[in-house]
Amino acid sequence: MTTWQYGQKRRDPFQLVFIVVLSAMLVSGVAFGRFPCQETSEDHGCVSDGWVTLVAPTNSPVVCLGNSITITASVTVANSQNQTVKHFNNSCPDEVSYGGDAPTYVVTWTASVGGWSTNGTGLTATFTPADCGAGTVSFGLNYTNVSPCNGTGTSSTDGNFTVLSLKIVDGSGKDISSANSNNTAIVGQSMNLTAQTCGGTFSNYVWSVDGYAISNYDVVNGILTTDFPLTNSGVMFHWVDDGSKSVTCSADCGGITCSANVNFNVVKPAAKIDAKTLTVIFTTLGSGGLLKFGGPFGQGITFSNTLTVPASFSGTSVWSQVCASAPVFTLTDTSGVTHTTVQNGSSPFGDLPSPYGIFNGVNPFDSPDISVDSSFVGVSASGSYEMFMMFQPSGGCPVPLRAVTWSWSGAFTKSSGVWSGTSTNSIDPPDYPTTSFPTWNSSVKDYHWNPSL
């Protein structure tokens, strides 16, 4: 509700609004100083160019071949110096201000070691070398100033790294660890592997060999040497069993342990022994006689065999025979005294010489016997043997493939001038696979008679 006082002049409402707005404008202009200078234009200028320089990496990594490497360089940046001049009206003075911008830059790098190299961009180089030795990463930088500056420049720096390598090579120096799925060997083959190193001096070699591997086997003396050094820069051995095998070697260099692995497919010949036997016969010969496995005209046991050597390998079969327990022979003289053989050495006994050399054509055979003359009225024999067929690859050592266990015995006496007795023997004994070596402590022929004859 509007009230009017006496004598007050009533104003026009539009006049009142004008007065209020004008008053507000005057008050705000004075209060914030914008009045009366108003900017009319701006000028930008470059006082000085900025620059960027590369700082060398601080790390020099050492890795084993196959591992990735990361090397990071850094940059030092100096901004450009820019000048901005603002122009105003009403004769207001120019305003000058200064600022700066960081130049833009691009970094590229090239890493190389041995005959291998690669490249990339950025301050961080990550790569996996494919060669070994002392390597270098070369960083290169190109920078460009931001307008109003326009200067350009370059910078470079290097970083170092070392790649260690341990490869397994065969006797001919061929790297087999890099192609570790196509290596084939045959049982008995002389495996001569060497750790080939690069990038530094290695020590503390440790080899591991899968499967049944031996150092060597001396078939002449029946000596099996199982252990072989596993801490040298090379390793020599012979596999006895077949199948998939792995050989690993590790070694240290400057606190870094590198390792290499190689896989082999070890094959062996297909083999079979076919043993054929006759019987134990006592044969009277004039005034004496002969107790013999096989009879007077035969061969007690004959071993025929098959041996199929896998393609690309060659070798021969080698035979050896042992007796786990001593054969026992007795002779009873006309006084009734029984003389018995006693081994001078300890078991097992080798049927020497070895390799076994009694062949009928290509087939080994055995016909153990004991002869008597007219001064004896009794004779007996008992023996058990194990015949081994081994495979000796060219340049390798013999390893057992199959074996046959066989025995013979007989006991005969003479009564009223007539010999009679009993006998027994293995009949066509089967063969069986084996990885056991024929070894012995003494010769089966090293015996004496007790009492002496």
Binding site: I281, F282, F297, S367, D369
Partner: protein, 177 residues
């Protein structure tokens, strides 16, 4: 006529001496016994043997029967000489007799000789004795033969086997310096 006779005589003596000096013809056999004959001869050429040089003597057996099989026992342990007896006359008149001595216990790796077959094996006479004199030696070898197989008598696991001994031809061997 007398000249011709002398020529024939000289030629005969020369041939005989040459034959004696150079060893034995390989066609010469000992007296056969029970259809088996044995000869011994020098392996290789018939050249004179120099003293101290290895001597390789071959024993050859021939079964002249048409239907019989014989067996030569051969001890594995002493294969070269164990089953043989040697009688060696030295140039000095000394005689060495080495009787067969196959071991009591052994393994027979002998051979069977079938009808009309021959069999040869090496005799390492050096293992019997050393021929250390220069001059002409006479060597005779003897050994036991089993068989014939066809005349055996079997009684279960006992076999009665005939045996007999044969003697080789005398081998005249010239040893020179």
């Amino acid at each position: 006529m007398r000249k011709h006779l002398y020529c024939y005589l000289i030629t005969f003596v020369a041939v005989t001496v040459q034959a004696l000096a150079s060893g034995l013809s390989t066609n010469e056999w000992g007296v056969g016994t029970n259809n088996v004959k044995m000869s011994i001869y020098l392996a290789g050429s018939n050249e004179e043997i120099k003293i101290g040089k290895p001597l390789k003597l071959i024993a050859r057996f021939k079964n002249i029967s048409t239907n019989e099989v014989f067996h030569l026992h051969q001890a594995r342990e002493l294969t070269e000489v164990a089953d043989y007896s040697f009688f060696i006359d030295f140039p000095s008149g000394k005689r060495v007799s080495a009787l067969s001595k196959a071991p009591i216990i052994g393994s027979d790796m002998g051979s069977n000789i079938g009808p009309n077959e021959t069999f040869e094996c090496e005799l390492k006479v050096d293992k019997v004795c050393q021929l250390d004199e220069v001059g002409t030696y006479k060597i005779i070898v003897q050994r036991e033969i089993w068989g014939p197989f066809e005349k055996r008598k079997e009684k279960g696991n006992v076999v009665e086997m005939p045996t007999f001994t044969i003697i080789s031809n005398p081998l005249l061997l010239q040893i020179v310096k």
